[in-house]
């Protein structure tokens, strides 16, 4: 009898996620191994148990109405988004980085540390660099005073910011900073 494969391999087998060749090799092993047959039977039973749950549970009509209403409001707001967000959303971080440089030159600001690539490419050196770039964009767009660094990440909105960073989405991150602007008046 061949050596028993790792349990994790049987998970993929039971779930039907293996390519033909490894699947056939495991089948051959199963023919001569009681322990692995029991293992696969248990895993298949676990998977089968989940099938008892309704995959698409019915939702309350009121909840669906609210969802559609909120989506329509969000769609309407798209057309009124600040121009800088639309541009950055459309052309990506290359536009943002270019804009930061232009703003810095025009306003004769100290040269900002512009990240070589921003979060969409997972190469930003630090969140602070991203924040600094966005802050300059916002200042340019609104004519407001730059926020001190500690105000860029207020503790009471840290969870929200963490989530946005996990989402790794430039548009949402910019929305966050624009809403910061509104909160700060």
């Amino acid at each position: 009898m061949t050596r028993c494969p790792k349990p994790e391999m049987w998970v993929r087998y039971a779930a039907g996620e293996l390519a033909d060749r490894p699947r056939r090799a495991l089948q051959t092993h199963l023919e001569s191994c009681d322990a692995c047959r029991r293992e696969v039977r248990d895993l298949a039973r676990g998977l089968e148990a989940m099938e008892s749950l309704e995959r698409e549970p019915a939702l309350r009509p009121e909840m669906l109405d609210t969802l559609h209403r909120r989506l329509r409001v969000a769609a309407a707001n798209r057309s009124t988004r600040p121009r800088v967000i639309t541009l950055v959303a459309r052309y990506g971080w290359a536009a943002a980085a270019a804009a930061v440089l232009v703003v810095a030159l025009v306003l004769n600001l100290p040269k900002p540390t512009v990240p070589a690539a921003l979060p969409g490419n997972h190469q930003a050196e630090s969140l602070q660099e991203v924040a600094a770039a966005i802050e300059l964009l916002r200042v340019a767009d609104n004519g407001t005073t730059p926020l001190p660094p500690q105000n860029l990440f207020p503790a009471d909105r840290q969870n929200e910011l963490d989530l946005l960073l996990e989402l790794d989405d430039a548009g949402l991150l910019l929305d966050y900073f624009m809403s910061q602007d509104k909160l700060q008046g």
């Binding site: 996620e17 039973r45 089968e48 749950l53 309704e54 549970p57 559609h68």
Partner: protein, 177 residues
Amino acid sequence: MALRDKDSDAQERQLAAYAPRVYGLLVRMVGNRDTAEDLTQETLLRAFRAFETYRPEGKFRAWIFRIARNAARDWLRRRPLEPALGFDADWLEAAPASPRRQSRPEDRLLHGERASKVEAALRRLPAPDREILLLRYYGELAFNDIAKVTGEPLGTVLARAHRALKKMAELVPEEEP
């Protein structure tokens, strides 16, 4: 009347179609129907707002479920109190049986009993293990995709799935033929 963007209409329909499955995941992650409804809306709104920047590098479904999973995780981190059991008793009410399963009263009864045993077994799993099974079932995601959603190595995801499936097999009696 304001003109509506055709893209927005299509995106709205596309996202709304995910609402039941996203809700199914969330209600079992947060254990509370009202919260799950709120988080379902938040998830789909976030996805809608992010549509402009969405790059189809992976599966769209995995992207949606990643947003949902992170929203639930964020809520669980922020919630004020750790509930003893943490789950409402209305999961089953929130998940009525499909018409196929409702065809005969005895089928409905059997299905209801079994589903409640599955619900109870799920609640006994550690949250990270339960999450893997839920992402697989509601998102219909392969383990590779689940690893991307949770940000864990594939080996960790498979080890969690193995532990969770064995526990489910132990806790849920075999279905009558």
